[in-house]
């Protein structure tokens, strides 16, 4: 009953610590970035730009936030490809399904007279 066969995990070796320190800087930068983007978004919606333009910018910004949190905070960038696949498949199916669903249901299907609430 000995553990000789199994090498222990590297716990706090030097290189490990170094990479964690590197990550610290990434995390700080990212946090600043995310805060700034949220500020920009808030201001943007009140600006008198063309609606499509604002919409596109908002979409891009939130996509960036989304991907950034996954890639760095959630370590997906440093982790196994398998994990990206597991999550990515779910994300892809969810997005695809709901784009399709959104375009399948339209106002022309609705019997507005039957609705008493508004």
């Amino acid at each position: 009953m000995s553990d000789v066969h199994y090498a222990p995990l590297p716990v706090s070796t030097k290189s490990h610590k170094d990479s964690e320190t590197d990550k610290y800087h990434t995390f700080v930068n990212l946090a600043l970035c995310l805060a700034a983007i949220t500020g920009v978004e808030l201001v943007l919606v009140y600006l008198p730009f063309n609606a499509t333009f604002i919409f596109t910018v908002l979409l891009t910004l939130s996509l960036f936030k989304f991907v950034a949190v996954i890639a760095w905070f959630m370590h997906l960038l440093y982790d196994k490809l398998l994990l990206t696949l597991a999550f990515g498949t779910g994300m892809a199916i969810a997005t695809g399904t709901f784009v399709a669903l959104g375009s399948l249901i339209s106002r022309s299907n609705v019997d507005l007279d039957a609705i008493t609430a508004f």
Binding site: M1, S2, H5, L82, G90, G96, T97, A114, A117
Partner: protein, 663 residues
């Protein structure tokens, strides 16, 4: 028969050291873990062994197959002659709803789970699943969900005896068992049109969803991470592959129905407007959400069956599976495309031309990988040395019957044709050919194939031939005429019909067929019991099979493999028996480390039991029973308590040394 040397000597319990570690140790909680050596009953209740869990799944599934079968026979008996009045229309609705729900969620899915549980760790050379306690949680929450969903029958009985009447939010409603169909279409399932039965249906399915989701995540991790050395992805048995695809389908398809059921529950309980037309709700949204789940669900049912077939046909043709990688690839494609065809269940709702055409084409496209598989199976038996054993007969039946179901499927894929077939008996014929003729025959084939491994007993006698003949004849006599009934305009879910519609003879034939089918299934149970009681010892590899599970003893020891096998090739055991030197299964030396076994635990059982008061509290509250809100909160408390103790308890575990006696 086989020259396989197995690596599974029985553990020697007389060894002093051994006895010491087998005693249940204290958990991190400070409590003793359940002592599985004291009582068989406690052992089974607290087990985390995937094989025992698989056997329990199988037994419960067979029980519900029996219940669902009785429901079906009552339905068919009601339809035997025109204007029959054996049961009331309301009871008829309850019976077809519960028949469909029971067969899909409580019979076929758990029977699939039984195979997953028993076989996957053995097929990939693992000692257990990745999370043995989560596996026990899945089993017991499945049982809890089954109880909740069937609880309505008890209330119905009480109501008939005059002991119970619904009050509160559903006052005046007399349908206390689910009656909205297995797809519970809104607004029929809303509070205005259905009683507390629908609440049982909602809560029961939610709990079953927990069981399926946890089990699937567990099995994906098991298959991806726990394979024995050398068991590369493209060496895995096809059954394991198909299970992997199914598990992915479950984790991505079930959330849609979970949310839809939650919305329906909110509509019924809190007066929200998700599907309430007066408030702007769109019942069509329910249909979409249901079928976003529902279509992947039919592949969740059928892919394991395809996996079973892909194991049985090669074994009894003495040939490797024809086009192994194509079979796997088309399984994955089916899984993926399965998410893109749901609206073919809704052609007649007026999707619009573009959407109808798109879903029509995609549905036809999904038939391609299905057809590819059929060709591969035919290619497998082509020129093989075929042995007509019981598993083989059922598998051949699968290929034939499933194909017929596929044909009518392609017929509904054409939207204009489907406009005639939708909601008629033609659809009933279609899905019973794929489910009874396909999935059920494959599952029976699997039972005949693997029972010798599970219990170490070999089948005796030739009853199996009778079972096969009766089931195949029965199902064709029952379901083939339904195609004509559908084309003659008989709608599905009809309580009764009038004389001169030209439906009478067909209905009579269908009903006769259903009794033949029932006798076949009863004989199957008889054969099973006979095998378990008086079967000869099976030996490790009675069929001269190909995959790794046959390299262990029958039944396998708790630890599956005494030493971790190293897999040399696809069809590992075949290569071990007949392959060249260097392509034999070898075993890892564990340096006396022993086998690490997980400890039994009460916590999965406790947490799952909590689902029963939670589910019943939430539902009975709708029927105006007092104190039910508190009961639901109590249930939630039990679940939380179980999970909290689970976390504190720690995984535990002990070591076995099966070979120490040799040293």
């Amino acid at each position: 028969m086989s020259q396989t040397e197995t690596a599974t000597p029985a553990p020697k319990t007389s060894h002093a050291h051994q006895l010491h570690v087998l005693k249940p140790e204290r958990s991190r909680l400070g409590l003793m873990r359940p002592d599985h050596s004291k009582s068989v009953f406690i052992d089974w209740l607290t087990t985390v062994d995937h094989k025992k869990i698989g056997i329990m799944y199988g037994a419960i599934a067979l029980f519900f197959l029996f219940i669902g079968g009785i429901e079906a026979l009552i339905i068919r008996t009601q339809l035997i002659v025109p204007e029959n009045n054996l049961i009331s229309a309301e009871r008829y609705n309850q019976l077809f709803t519960m028949h469909g729900t029971t067969m899909i969620f409580l019979a076929v899915m758990p029977l699939n789970s039984a195979f997953f549980n028993f076989l996957i760790p053995l097929q990939i050379g693992a000692r257990d699943v990745a999370f043995p306690r989560i596996n026990a949680l899945s089993l017991w929450s499945f049982v809890a969900g089954a109880l909740v969903i069937n609880f309505g029958w008890l209330l119905e009985a009480l109501q008939m005896m005059g002991l119970f009447a619904a009050s509160g939010p559903t006052a005046g409603m007399t349908d206390l068992a689910p009656s909205g169909g297995w797809f519970g279409y809104a607004p029929l399932s809303s509070k205005e049109y259905s009683g507390v039965g629908t609440d049982f249906w909602i809560m029961g399915l939610q709990i079953l969803g927990v069981a399926s989701l946890t089990a699937s995540m567990n099995f994906i991790v098991t298959i991806l991470n726990m394979r024995a050395p050398g068991m590369k992805m493209m060496r895995m048995p096809v059954f394991t592959w198909m299970s992997l695809v199914v598990a992915f389908l479950i984790i991505f398809a079930f959330p849609a129905i979970t949310i839809a059921l939650g919305q329906l529950m909110f509509d019924r309980t809190f007066g929200t407007n998700f599907f309430n037309v007066a408030g702007g709700g769109q019942p069509i949204l329910w249909q979409h959400l249901f079928w976003i789940f529902g279509h992947p669900e039919v592949y969740i049912l059928v892919l394991p069956a395809m996996g079973i077939i892909s194991e049985v046909l090669p074994t009894f043709s003495k040939k490797p599976l024809f086009g192994y990688s194509i079979v796997i690839f088309s399984g994955a494609v089916i899984g993926f495309l399965g998410f893109a065809v749901w609206s073919h269940h809704m052609f007649t709702t007026g999707l619009g031309k573009v959407a109808t055409a798109a879903f029509s084409l995609l549905t036809m496209a999904i038939a391609v990988p299905t057809g590819v598989k059929i060709f591969n199976w035919v290619g497998t038996i082509w020129g093989g040395r075929i042995r007509f054993t019981a598993p083989m007969i059922f598998s051949l039946g699968f290929v034939w019957m499933f194909m017929m179901g596929g044909f009518s499927g392609i017929m509904h894929a054409a939207a204009p044709a489907d406009a005639q077939q939708q909601d008629s008996y033609f659809v009933i014929a279609h899905f019973h050919y794929v489910i009874m003729g396909g999935i059920f025959l494959a599952l029976v084939s699997g039972i005949y194939y693997w029972v010798p491994k599970v219990f170490g007993k070999m089948w005796t006698g030739s009853l199996s031939t009778w079972v096969a003949v009766l089931i195949v004849v029965g199902l064709n006599v029952t379901f083939f005429p339904m195609h004509f009934l559908g084309l003659l305009g008989m709608p599905r879910r009809t309580h009764t019909y009038l004389e001169g519609f030209g439906w009478s003879t067909y209905n009579l034939v269908c009903t006769i067929g259903s009794y033949i089918l029932a006798i076949g299934i009863l004989l199957l149970l008889v054969d099973l019991i006979r095998c378990l009681r008086s079967g000869e010892p099976a030996g490790d590899d009675p069929w001269d099979a190909r995959t790794l599970e046959w390299a262990t003893t029958s039944p396998p020891q708790v630890y599956n493999f005494a030493k971790t096998p190293i897999i040399p090739a696809r069809d590992a055991l075949w290569s071990h028996k007949h392959g060249p030197e260097g392509k034999k299964i070898t075993y890892e030396d564990d340096h006396g480390h022993g086998i690490h076994m997980p400890s039994n635990s009460w916590m999965p059982l406790i947490a799952s039991i909590g689902f029963v008061p939670l589910g019943l509290g939430m539902t009975l509250k709708q029927a105006g029973v007092p104190y039910m809100g508190s009961l639901a909160i109590f249930g939630l408390f039990v679940i939380t308590l179980g999970l909290a103790l689970w976390a504190i308890e720690g995984p535990g575990g002990f070591h076995l040394h099966p070979e120490e006696d040799e040293a």
